[in-house]
Symmetry: C2
Subunit: 729 residues, 2 copies
């Protein structure tokens, strides 16, 4: 069995960025990068806030990092204990991802005095505005100690600074900072209460952008000097009373004591694990990687909101502009749907509530309906730039078409909504705007449909599919199939076949000519061209003309790079005129719609596309794993599953693009790993309204157990010796 | 008045490439670059052959250069007289473009002996396989002279060598070389006869790839030692008896004497000038540039053939692969149509006879009908590469879309055929395959027509218009209007409204469902979307979304270049995402279809697009000049006209792309200059079957006179004092 911990010994400042992700804490409202108490912006500290953004000048719009409430350090006999500047003689860093507690223990030798700092911290899941930390110092010989604790508003930003104004204040053991953002004059308030278990000469001091208290005392050997912080973060978007609320929460929690807040958090996490934990016997590495992945999904679940989604890099920072991509619907949704459907609804409500943004985007391009943002920020604003890549040879921004041409995003939204409705049977989401959303997405595709004058079939031209290395292609199979899905769903809704409230039906009837739409969408679904398997090879062409491109290996394409950071796609990238693709594309389609093909076709396409896939996206491997499982090839699936499951636990990965930090966690890979375990190896599906389990475990797994929340009941599925035992509670 | 000569004094080897074009001789069968008798391949000698091509390996396919029949040099007292290696003390080079005679006179000081070489050469228009040259040497003091004369088969090639085998032989005063090409084992035979007016010790010798005779003698002061050459060039594509024919022609002409052949050529040129010369009073520079331009058009007119076209760089070499572009139909056709309609028919017959190549190209892309080659070689083979430009930053070939997307080429063919038919009233060309050609071009566009499912209009997507800097655009106005022209013409033919032979009608009726096609093409012409002038600004958008591109000046775009040879177009070129265009695009459309717009709209578009036009193509200026004339602004037109007319006479221009020679003559600019004079300033048109002249001369022109061949009669148009005097003969 596993110990539910990731940890390391020894301090290495070169790991500060990757550890920020690996040891991340989070509660959906905020993510706290895994850094040390004494770190400042050059240590890549971030308390990343969900759903609040700011833009400065022409730089990319990105989410806010709050002032760092957990800033604390010790000065012993005049020496500042900062691991980055003064190496500790021993150091351990441990994340207990069952309890969601991050601890560090560092020992310094300060001119013969052995000083030990043990600290732990958490981001409260039950109280999502709350952070807690405990900082404990001991010495082996008497020493003069100054503890410095407070709020560091000199935050790390990628495209900042976002705070035009920072006002800090201290009173007794309370500290408060209120900031004002650049673009919309939003405010972030961080209030914290400090409690100590010792007598000290207390003071306070200000450095630029830092609001600090000091505690000076003479430390005796063997005594534990404890400094607790309970801090609250609120923004003016949460409530007009953000200052009062923050102060009150910090104060109340401080009065109840650190231990109580800590335990509440552990208890709530335990309740989540009771449902979501995955038990794998015979393969601890897989069990660890899988549950660690689920830890990250729990960290970013927006439980505090009823309409919010998850950014592509979760709450690990400002990378990818803190924006919501198709990752949520296509890769993360299943986990929440199967374990905590309320979160799934919250995710989809975000899309419904940003419909106007999607309509604006469509109108901006001259289309009807709703074209969802490729990189969605508040209100559905598309944070995606027209120029996403820098040409390494000229230093010029390259015109990319992710925003304009990746039209499959709207279908992902429809897919998510309908999946929620079909899985839960809860049509409330359709009544609450979902029906209109689906119709608007269908209207969008309808306005894009082209028909050759001398042909009956409808086509979608000039798109980018999941494989972003091939831009502006016609009839991308994935895109066309997803558009057909959208037409089918919208036709169903427009034809009154979904169980909507009468008032909603009436409202929709006023808004639309539903009979006309139902007929149009049904016609579109019928005539939309869906590429078919080649009769001889079984291979489905990814888009018109794909098979005429140069057929060469991924290694061959890689060998043509002239610069290790050059972009493989675009008009002239090394992959662009070859069959080498970035990520699962046809395979993603076949995974989603496997029932529409025979196993032979599935396998032939897997075998054709896999050697041509760079897997240059963390969204790729899990689709290959899922399809291999579907073909009964669990052992083929296994390495792809492990790649997904290990995306974050192994650390590292691509962190820098030139001087821009692009690292972060990979929640889509985490969600993919979950799907692999439960739907792939675990063989879970719903058939005719019944939980159905057709397992196919990797050969080294002796047992797999997981729980599924379905129809208001919890199904405990325990697979051993090729048989699945299902109990319900 | 002008002296009909271009000339220069002093020798400068850096001008060898540009002088090759400026002093070109030609007769439609071959072009002889303006080089000196003693030059070899490093002096860029070429006898460029029309309509015969070769490809070596993966290099570009290009036309053949024949072995140099005119290779001759003198050795005086052991010193070789080669201007490139040994500077002459004086040198003049003169092209009499009325007589089509190129002469050089070079004087060397050879150790105190003054040696004068006077030479002249011609490419016979009446006898198009014939070249003649006369080499005259005099000395001022006795000297030992060796004249070396023969055939140099070590030809200059851009993508050669093209001859796998060269067999040379000499017999008495006859020399013969037969070569065998690489790709198709075609043969080129050069046979020549040498005649001298002096006694000498004759010999022969071979150097690698050179077949030479020598004449050694002691020269006396003041005596003219004359060496005449009459040489014939035939290929195995001309006749199976190419060797015998070449030998016979050279021998017969030699027996009749150099003077006779020279005079025949002058006489025939004079007969052409009698019809085609342009008289301009008050502006010798314009008269000279215009007639010099016409000289070049005469040099490349394929009078020897009944089905042949003209390459974009004429017969000035292998540049642009010796391929035929839309230049012929859109820029050169008028000159021949108005002065020598038989040549116009020959040009259009080439397109008809390469229909199969165009059908093959269309089928290769999955389209119906005929998609003409962007760079047409024999049989309509498209010599255009998928990679036409080299990225200066990476050295990689860049994927370009000239071949795939410049669909307006097929409409240019239809435009040329219908223009010929309508101007001449001669429908024979329709009976001889033209009708089928027009129908196949219409079928091509019909198979490309797209219709948004929710709209009635038809569209053409993913094209490149005349402005090549913007790739893969939708609804390029020029392209759509030309496609509509094609539908209109084809509908007329299919509906039996053209006066075709009964047998042809019967044959077409078997081949096509003509009623169905007539209906489809009429429907297509009616519904094809043609962008309209903006009601407020009058501006027509060049393609969908053009006006949303960055609006900046040509200078601003130029200032963004990081490398002086970088490509402005393509996906990321400096112009690609701005409104800066390479050449007239909307303006070309408005010039061709001016009657469909009011003058205000014409002028507004001229004024809008001109500052946004780089004029990076020699096809651009004349369209701006023509449209300005149409708007009554002759003085606005004048500088653009002079730019077109001077394209070759001024010499220079873009000659090198990296190490690849891209220089050559600009027959489309020459044709454009002709159109400017005759249709623009000269105001010539046909209205209701009558010659109509509405002149608008530039303010410095006191008289303009030109002749028009119309309806079998020659119209002499003489414009003075704003009035046109028309006489007919």
């Amino acid at each position: 069995m596993i110990d539910w911990k990731v940890s390391e010994s020894g301090f290495d400042s070169s790991k500060n960025t990757s550890n920020g992700n690996k040891y991340l804490l989070g509660n959906g409202y905020m993510g706290v990068r895994g850094t040390l108490d004494e770190f400042e912006k050059d240590g890549y500290v971030a308390i990343n806030l969900a759903g609040i953004y700011d833009q400065v000048g022409d730089a990319w719009r990105e989410p806010l990092n709050a002032p760092n409430a957990l800033y604390t350090y010790a000065v012993v006999d005049g020496v500042k204990l900062d691991a980055n500047a003064f190496a500790p003689k021993s150091h351990t860093f441990t994340l207990d991802y069952r309890k969601a507690l991050l601890t560090r223990e560092s020992v310094w030798d300060v001119n013969g005095v052995t000083v030990t700092v043990k600290a732990e911290r958490f981001a409260s899941m039950p109280s999502p505005h709350l952070l807690g930390s405990r900082f404990v110092l001991t010495v082996d010989r008497e020493a003069k100690v100054k503890l410095v604790a407070g709020i560091d508003s000199d935050v790390w930003d990628i495209n900042g600074p976002h705070y035009d104004k920072v006002v800090g204040s201290t009173l007794d053991n309370s500290i408060k900072v209120v900031t004002t953002t650049h673009e919309s004059a939003d405010h972030v308030c961080v209030a914290e209460e400090i409690r100590t278990n010792f007598k000290a000469e207390a003071g306070s001091f200000e450095e630029p952008l830092k609001t600090l208290k000091t505690y000076e005392f003479t430390a005796e050997p063997g005594v534990e000097y404890v400094l607790d912080k309970l801090a609250a973060v609120y923004t003016s978007k949460d409530t007009d009373e953000f200052e009062a609320e923050a102060q009150k929460l910090a104060y109340d929690k401080a009065q109840a004591g650190y231990e109580a807040a800590r335990q509440e958090n552990i208890d709530m996490w335990e309740s989540k694990w009771k449902v979501s934990e995955i038990i794998i016997e015979g393969d601890d590495k897989a069990m660890e990687a899988t549950n660690y992945s689920l830890y990250h999904l729990h960290c970013i679940a927006p439980r505090h909101a009823d309409s919010m989604s998850i950014a592509a890099r979760g709450l690990s920072g400002q990378t990818y502009k803190g924006a919501v991509f198709w990752d949520t619907e296509m890769f993360m949704l299943d986990f929440f749907l199967f374990t905590e459907p309320a979160v799934a609804k919250t995710l989809m409500k975000y899309r419904i509530d940003t419909l106007q943004g999607a309509k604006n985007k469509a109108a901006g391009y001259g289309f009807d309906g709703a074209f969802y943002a490729w990189e969605s920020q508040e209100g559905g604003f598309d944070g995606c730039s027209d120029y996403n890549v820098t040409d390494v040879f000229t230093g010029r921004p390259m015109r990319t078409f992710f925003k304009d041409k990746q039209i499959h995003i709207s279908a992902a939204v429809v897919y998510g909504i309908m999946k929620y409705v079909r899985y839960t049977g809860d049509t409330s989401i359709l009544n609450e705007g979902g029906a209109e959303t689906v119709i608007e997405c269908a209207k969008f595709y309808y306005s894009l449909l082209l028909k050759k004058v001398n042909s009956d079939k409808y086509e979608l031209h000039d798109v980018i599919g999941p494989d972003e290395y091939h831009e502006r292609v016609n009839n991308n199979g994935y895109t066309n199939r997803m558009a057909k899905y959208t037409f089918d769903a919208a036709a169903e809704i427009a034809a009154g076949k979904c169980d909507l409230d009468a008032a909603v039906v009436e409202k929709l009837g006023k808004q639309y000519d539903l009979a006309d739409l139902a007929a149009k969408f049904a016609d579109a679904a019928e005539h939309l061209y869906i590429p078919q398997p080649d009769p001889k090879t079984g291979v489905i062409e990814q888009f018109d003309g794909y098979l005429k491109l140069e057929d060469c290996s991924v290694d061959e394409v890689r060998s043509r790079l002239l610069h290790d950071k050059e972009y493989w796609g675009g008009a002239y990238g090394v992959a662009a005129h070859t069959q080498v693709i970035k990520q699962a594309d046809v395979v993603t389609w076949l995974t989603l719609f496997a029932d529409e093909f025979d196993d032979d076709t599935l396998l032939k396409n897997w075998s054709f596309y896999e050697p041509r896939t760079e897997h240059g996206s963390s969204l790729s491997a899990c689709m290959y794993a899922l399809l291999a499982c579907r073909c009964g090839l669990s052992d083929w699936a296994y390495p792809f599953f492990m790649k997904s499951a290990s995306a974050d636990i192994k650390g590292g990965g691509k962190e820098w693009a030139g001087l821009v930090y692009i690292g972060g966690t990979h929640p889509a890979a985490a969600g993919g790993a979950y799907m692999n375990v439960v739907k792939g190896f675990g063989g879970f599906s719903i058939k005719n309204g019944e939980v159905c389990v057709e397992p196919a475990l990797p050969s080294n797994w002796t047992r797999l157990a997981y729980n599924i929340n379905y129809g208001g009941k919890l199904y405990h599925i325990d697979i051993k010796d090729g048989k699945a035992d299902i109990t319900v509670s």
